[in-house]
């Protein structure tokens, strides 16, 4: 019989918390370069949206160039549009509409979706069935179509756009939040709270909500991207933000005539949209993860 003496004393359990302390990174998060870039771009556009009037070099409506669809130059960094106005200024102001409307819509959509989803998950029964059937039916209408028809019917003022966009994307947020809440609801710690005698509001607020915040915020980011794309699409069709105001989609629409000349006026608004949506995607895919040392 062979024996390998072990120098370690007999411990009844290993404590992973101790090994964690040995390798603690700042804030305990692993930070990713790609995520940082995404975050930076988003913050930049948010600041632009807030302070646009202070940042623009030329007033938005003023014609500053004799040439239309002028090229990029020292005076006009992004060239001029189909009337000779400065594109840079128009894009910076456009950020207000694109970012502003989309942010408002996504907040309303996700808030409603999460509240309804949690209620449906926890209450169950007929409330759940009715809500789910109704919202699933709404999901069955293609989003562009819905936006088109409603905006054509009621007009395209800013409040209408915000409400329409939030209505279109609430069902998706609802479905997601409900699925998360249903999963959490099935866990034993919810049962423990229930038989303690806790009421439904405490359970939703203190037990379920903290567990779904992370994924819900990620979903918010995704929905924000969808809304930006839909808004730009509608504006491109002439049904979104109306002249003289213009969001990025409307800017592409006005300047589409410059396409055969490869004018910067038609390219840069699209690039602005792409930079925003791609950054959000980058951020979501690379959110900082808390380190949990897990050995095989």
């Amino acid at each position: 019989m062979t024996m390998t003496p072990s120098p370690a004393p007999i411990a009844t359990e290993t404590n992973p918390a101790k090994s964690l302390a040995a390798s603690r990174k700042p804030f305990g998060y692993r930070i990713n370069a790609v995520g940082i870039i995404g975050l930076a771009v988003i913050l930049a556009w948010a600041l632009v949206a807030l302070f646009a009037p202070l940042l623009i070099p030329h007033p938005v409506g003023e014609i500053v160039d004799f040439d239309y669809f002028g090229p990029m130059s020292d005076k006009l960094w992004l060239g001029s549009d189909y009337l000779g106005r400065d594109m840079l200024s128009r894009i910076l102001m456009g950020a207000r509409y694109t970012v502003g409307i989309s942010l408002a819509a996504v907040t309303i959509a996700c808030f409603s979706g999460v509240v309804l989803g949690m209620i449906a998950a926890v209450a169950g029964g007929w409330i759940d069935t009715v809500l789910s059937r109704f919202l699933d039916a709404m999901n069955s209408i293609p989003s562009k179509l819905f936006g088109l028809v409603v905006v054509a019917a009621v007009g395209s003022s800013i409040p209408v756009l915000v409400i329409t966009l939030s209505v279109i994307y609430t069902p998706g947020a609802y479905r997601f939040a409900r699925a998360l809440a249903v999963n959490i609801n099935a866990m034993d710690f919810i049962t423990v709270a229930r038989i303690r005698g806790e009421n439904i509001f405490y359970i939703i607020r203190a037990e379920i909500l903290p567990n779904i915040t992370g994924p819900v915020l990620a979903d918010l980011g995704l929905r924000f991207v969808f809304i930006v794309l839909l808004l730009s699409g509608l504006s491109f069709l002439g049904l979104g933000v109306q002249p003289p105001n213009a969001d990025w989609g409307a800017l592409v629409r006005e300047n589409i005539g410059g396409l055969p000349f490869a004018a910067p006026a038609v390219i840069f608004p699209s690039l602005a949209i792409a930079s925003l949506t791609i950054s959000v995607n980058m951020l979501i895919d690379n959110l900082p993860k808390k380190i949990r040392d897990r050995s095989a």
Partner: protein, 318 residues
Amino acid sequence: MRLNARAFSLVVNRLLIALVTLTIVLVAVFLATTLLPGDTATMLLGQAATPEAVAGLRQAMHLDDPAALRFLRWVFGLLHGDLGTSYANNLPIAQLISGRFVNSMKLAGLTSLLAVPIALTLGITSAMLRGSVYDRCVTVITIGVISVPEFMIATSAVLLFAVYLKWLPALSFANEVHSFSGMLRVYAMPVITLTFGVSAQMIRMTRAAVIETLDTPYVEMALLKGASRRRIVLRHALPNALGPIVNAMALSLSYLLGGVIIVETIFNYPGIAKLMVDAVATRDLPLIQSCAMIFCVGYLVLITMADIVSILSNPRLR
């Protein structure tokens, strides 16, 4: 594939839900279009019409009937193939739509023909080679394509092929096609644009479906039996991924419905989506209703099929 009792009842259930949803959607479409402002009768007769003429027309068109009655009349007409008459040019809508519908179907058909093989190949291979440089490139490109608006893909395609390379014309005049090469030149741009968008969706979903089957214990077991990678993917992973993949394809094709609106507008393609966009501009009620309805029905058919495939592909139902 034998349908046993349980699978059958699940499918029937799903079809019933689809029917209910269809009804809700029809009601929604009807309501939305009747909300359009402006009195229809006044619009048709012009501003100079007398109040009596307007009242008379309203009565003739049944515009004063309660909404529910008008809705039922409309559905009744639909089932008989009578889509009403266009306000703008007084032609029967069915006639207006049919030609355009065929055009849009041609576009959708060509796109699917291209997108499905591309997406399947790229999706499956990038899942098999997960983590490699090839996979990372594919992922980055597909995320890029999904994140940008369709008109950006369209404008980029135009810039590349029409402006810089001068291979293709920017606009398409589909009804004046006389030769095969002419047809190619006319369809190329819209189809390329749509294909990019649809393939990107399909690739991501296919890749996710295949990865999910590759991560299962039974695939590890096959590896531990000494199976080669090809055998693992073809015999073990794909049969289980087939259901989710077909599901993904049906869902991706439903994105076509959105993309085609932009593409037909930007390329001036005479399809049904462009017809609807123009109808919105002229507030042509019946036309909008009919076009919207066709879109909704198509969308519903696709997502219902996707769900049914999901149900039937569950091996535990055998």
